[in-house]
Symmetry: C2
Subunit: 262 residues, 2 copies
């Protein structure tokens, strides 16, 4: 029977020591054979970065009792690639990433290392889920998030996911009993309004620190931001086909690109 | 009249000294007021990384005759954010990124620093285009790519782009006269099949170098890979809404997520 156990790859972007990773590993216990490959240092905001020009380190570590775990010197996407090529004989049955300390809802999906690991797994044909809790604190309470991580992972193991589709799951900062349930949503339109704090270093040279505030530009009630504001766990089916299919006719009809003679 | 000149922000991921950037700057001459903000070192494979935990430097440089230019210590997305917040009084009318040394067609869009700069501009509401030439060499011939960069930029300045849509333009490694024209395409399904080269460092510790080969998994004749293989410039309208809208009914119909009592 053990041979039929699903293999579950667990990773994150906050690094191997993050409490959110431990919460996710513990949530996966009992669902299959768990293997953890996580960055050796925090990688937040890394987007879908991969390491091309530097060597990568992969080191076995004893962090989670009874579970095979490695730390990697690369990005979250590197962790998934290395796990696939060097550690797993067959593709994993599920890849879960997180639980991120902080939201990856709406436009944050673009900047998210947590989600880039899940996207990388999905490109490889592995059903994948990114989990994020709307609480940045190191000592955040992950119990409700862990509950939903297990529930949703069970569903994916049982029913699968459509081809080339992964899940972006965000959990509100609420007690489990205060959460109303889950909503399948679309990604809200939103952006970060940056404000760079301009300073001078001890030698008088200028430098900038990024600060910013998050602006939801979307009034829809079918979005992840709406769901989270209203006490639901948001589940956004996510794809790596970035084609704006609806824009193809616009470009074909309005443009005059083959007029080469200008 | 000068006040009505469009403002064109030029950036890239190969860095301020890359020949592809110079080719793009020269292609934009005459189309508007050009401002260049590019990384001070190569940022290939950075995906949509942003710099959160480190200070950023922004330094004025004299690189392109008669053109305002800055180098930035951050990623391509940082360059666009800093330009918007610190250098431009009003949003630019166009942001062009590239010309990248190497393809950003199909799944490469996910890993691409070139495209992340264009995506960042698009999030800000600025019409944006990433240009990439299918030639990795430092001394690649950018003349055909520059021709099409100008042509396509003129079209965007004239006709605009649909809301929340940018362009991913790739140019085949051909002489201008051998290029058959342009094709508006969708992103091909493809992936990188990694093979990590395992080595030992002088102290006997293992490390890995990423190598890999590119696999097109898509037989469609409406894709960017098909267009490029057949001598066309590929233009993929691209969006930052990563929702797999078609998967929402699947999840709503097949899942049993509100059965909390398990």
């Amino acid at each position: 029977m053990a041979a039929k156990e699903p293999v579950i790859l667990v990773t994150n972007d906050d690094g191997i020591t993050a409490p959110g990773l431990k919460a996710l590993v513990d949530a996966m216990r009992g669902l299959g054979r768990i293997i953890v490959v996580a960055p050796d240092s925090p990688q937040s905001g890394m987007g879908h970065a991969i390491t091309i020009s530097n060597p990568l380190r992969l080191e076995k570590v004893e962090v989670f009792e009874g579970i095979e775990a490695y730390q990697c010197s690369g990005t979250p996407a590197d962790c998934v690639k290395l796990a696939k090529d060097k550690l797993l004989k067959k593709p994993a049955h599920l890849c879960v990433s997180g639980i991120n300390h902080g939201s990856n809802a709406s436009i944050n999906v673009i900047y998210s290392g947590t989600m880039s690991a899940a996207v990388e797994a999905s490109i490889e044909g592995i059903p994948a889920i990114g989990f994020s809790l709307l609480d940045h604190h190191f000592d955040a309470d992950f119990s409700a998030a862990a509950y939903y991580a297990k529930l949703i992972s069970q569903q994916v193991l049982q029913y699968g996911l459509p081809d080339a589709t992964l899940l972006n799951v965000n959990i509100p900062k609420l007690q489990l009993k205060a959460i109303k349930g889950t909503k399948v949503c679309r990604q809200a339109r939103a952006k970060w309004e940056e404000d760079y704090d301009q300073r001078k270093d001890p030698r008088g040279r200028e430098y900038y620190w990024m600060t910013g505030r998050f602006i939801v530009q979307d009034q829809g009630e079918d979005t992840d931001e709406w769901a989270l504001m209203n006490g639901y766990v948001s589940i956004v089916p996510t794809q790596f086909d970035m084609t704006a299919h609806h824009a193809i006719p616009f470009l074909n009809n309005n443009w005059d690109l083959n007029a080469k003679t200008r």
